[in-house]
């Protein structure tokens, strides 16, 4: 019977085309929307983790309280000893020292007088030790617009936008004017080795990246670091694994009154990221729910319309002696087949579109130019296991339920009036 029904569906386009197309569109949009929202959430978490928060971050207690001010006078000292301990106790984690600093980038003219000046947000990360972890986390090679990455001490990377604003090219010398760990004024010359595009508004406006040891020299921070960021080995933020790391860290470094004692915070605890994650999840779930609900109503309606359009057909079939329940059953089987075909094609189309954007992304940098929070400018979708059934199940069920409801009408048809109805 299934082969018979399938042949009917394929051969009678009038009967099947519209419901299948509606199911395909509905399911495809549901899958794509879900993957899009997951992608935004994932990109935001990943971006914040890579550039700023890590999966966990270790700071001194005082630094953690004033982290927005980048208080390097409260930085962790004796970092080498702490790192040895961290690597020994947490082999599942990758650790990186960082110094965030603020200051002015001053560009001299030929006489050494200030030609241009602009406020900079700096990152001191490991660029020259041979360990490429931080270069990869900051995606520096792909972000390079002009010049090259630093290969010698005393070289600096500037964001392309900042370099254009200050009219600086690779090879030029700039002076960092900042503040040392002790509060003295710090002046340090760097040669611009290259320019980069981060792809995120706030960072493209005035960021510079320097090797960690160069920042230490400039800011008089010998064996010190503002932050130590930790990443789970698979580079994927997992709250359970992170909670385990935090528990173990707190047992190794119990809370004390020492304001310079190291403390650990998770990604969720930083920059209101936890709130943001929860909000995006809640809004995403709500949006998907509303979308699935409305698509179900549309598909249900399509099922109803299909039933009504075939009012005469069912009349003839009843008139020639077909049983009520048989017609009802074939209608449902048909709708299952339509739902299956539509959901399969819709899910596949949604997944294919999502797969394309997962790899290539959608560049919204023009819209993110004035953004002041750390948000990606290129959005990617993210395909998770849920994406395989989030559209499929409502696509199938709503078609079938729609048909079941519309099909009830068959039982109300009276055989005595059939010919009268058919005559009109």
């Amino acid at each position: 019977m299934i082969r018979f029904l399938l042949k009917g569906i394929l051969r009678d386009k009038q009967r099947s085309l519209l419901p299948v197309v509606i199911v395909i569109i509905g399911v495809m949009l549901t899958v794509f929307l879900y993957c899009w929202l997951r992608g935004i959430l994932n990109d935001s978490i990943e971006l914040n983790a890579r550039f700023n928060a890590g999966h966990v971050k270790i700071m001194t207690a005082s630094y953690a309280k004033n982290v927005d001010q980048l208080p390097n006078d409260l930085a962790i000292t004796g970092v080498d000893t702490l790192l040895i301990k961290l690597k020994r106790e947490f082999p599942e984690m990758k650790w990186g020292e960082r110094i965030h600093f603020g200051g002015l980038i001053d560009v001299p003219d030929s006489r050494g007088e200030t030609r241009a000046q602009g406020p900079a947000a700096g990152f001191g990360i490991d660029l020259l030790s041979g360990d490429r972890s931080e270069i990869e986390r900051f995606n520096l090679e792909k972000s390079l617009r002009r010049g090259r990455l630093p290969v010698h001490s005393g070289e600096i990377l500037m964001s392309e936008e900042f370099s254009v604003k200050l009219k600086v090219n690779p090879g030029d010398t700039v002076t960092l004017i900042g503040s040392t760990m002790n509060g003295s004024m710090a002046l340090y010359n760097y040669t611009v080795s290259g320019t980069i595009v981060f792809g995120t508004g706030p960072m493209d406006q005035g960021s510079v990246i320097v090797d960690l040891d160069d920042v230490r020299n400039a800011l008089d921070m010998n064996n010190a670091a503002g932050e130590i960021v930790g990443y789970l080995a698979d580079n994927y933020y997992d709250e359970e694994k992170v909670a385990h790391v935090v528990t173990k860290f707190n047992s190794l470094f119990p809370a004390s009154n020492d304001e310079y004692a190291p403390v650990i915070v998770t990604l969720r605890q930083q920059n209101s990221l936890g709130k943001m994650i929860d909000q995006i999840k809640a809004v995403g779930a709500f949006a998907v729910f509303i979308f699935v609900l409305s698509m179900s109503l549309v598909l249900w309606n399509a099922g109803l319309l299909g039933g009504l359009r075939r009012y005469s057909e069912f009349g003839i079939r009843l008139a020639i002696g077909e049983d009520y329940s048989h017609i009802y059953k074939t209608m449902i089987y048909e709708s299952v087949l339509i739902g299956l075909i539509g959901s399969l094609i819709g899910t596949s189309a949604g997944l294919l579109g999502s797969l394309y954007l997962e790899h290539h992304g959608l560049d919204l940098s023009n819209m993110m130019k004035n953004a002041t929070i750390l948000m990606p400018a290129i959005f990617h979708t993210r395909i998770t296991s849920t994406a395989y059934f989030i559209g499929f199940i409502p696509g199938l069920l709503s078609t079938v339920i729609g048909t079941m409801l519309s099909g009830i009408g068959i039982y109300k048809r009276k055989t005595a009036q059939l010919f009268k109805e058919l005559e009109t």
Binding site: D73, G112, N182, G183, M185, L187, N189
Partner: protein, 244 residues
Amino acid sequence: MRKLVIPVLMLCFSINAQTPSAKDIIEKVDKNMSADSRVFTSKMVIHNPRNTRTVESKSWSMGEKKSYTEYLSPPREQGTKMLKLEDQLWIFSPSTDRIIQISGHMLRQSVMGSDLSYEDMMEDPHLLNHYTGKINGEEKIADRNCWIITLTANTPDVAYQTQKVWVDKDRFIPLKKELYAKSGVLLKRMELSDVLQIQGRWFPKKILFKDVLKEGDGTEFQIMEIEFNTKIPEYIFSKASLKK
């Protein structure tokens, strides 16, 4: 009656002679503390919450407007020079071979992480030119009798709108100061000690500065050597001297 009037008048005059006006006191303080020119070497012991650092420097100043400082140690700061002319300041950093100009509110930033601002470090203002004084009482500081004088700025270009100064009655030297912002907030405390007679004037060789808005135990500013009213070549106060 005549016998009575004369002693009473004498008593009144003697009381007046014992309590000079605030203006007179400030004038005498200026005579001790300020000079047409000064050359001194000094040592700043900066007590930060995490460490103590010592910075040595040599300074030349002429009047209120011109000042020049060269840092002698530690090695990181050695060779750093600062020139202040009126309200502009240039800093030369030997490691960068650059001269950077700072002005405006930056002059109120800390010097070398100490409790002194660039203005505290490099200015030698005559109090009488900028403040109006009022005697508010008396108090003993380090066993010395002092007048408490409140100074209120009468010019807009001063770092501290109000100062409360404890002036030694005998030597006309401030032994304690409290420096306030326009809002009335206490910004800094100063304790002046090791008062010695140098070139016929009393002068404190040690000043403890405490920026109350900053953590730490303050900065001891110690004068190692000082010469007043000495002739300073004019080229010292030029930008060219910064790179020499």
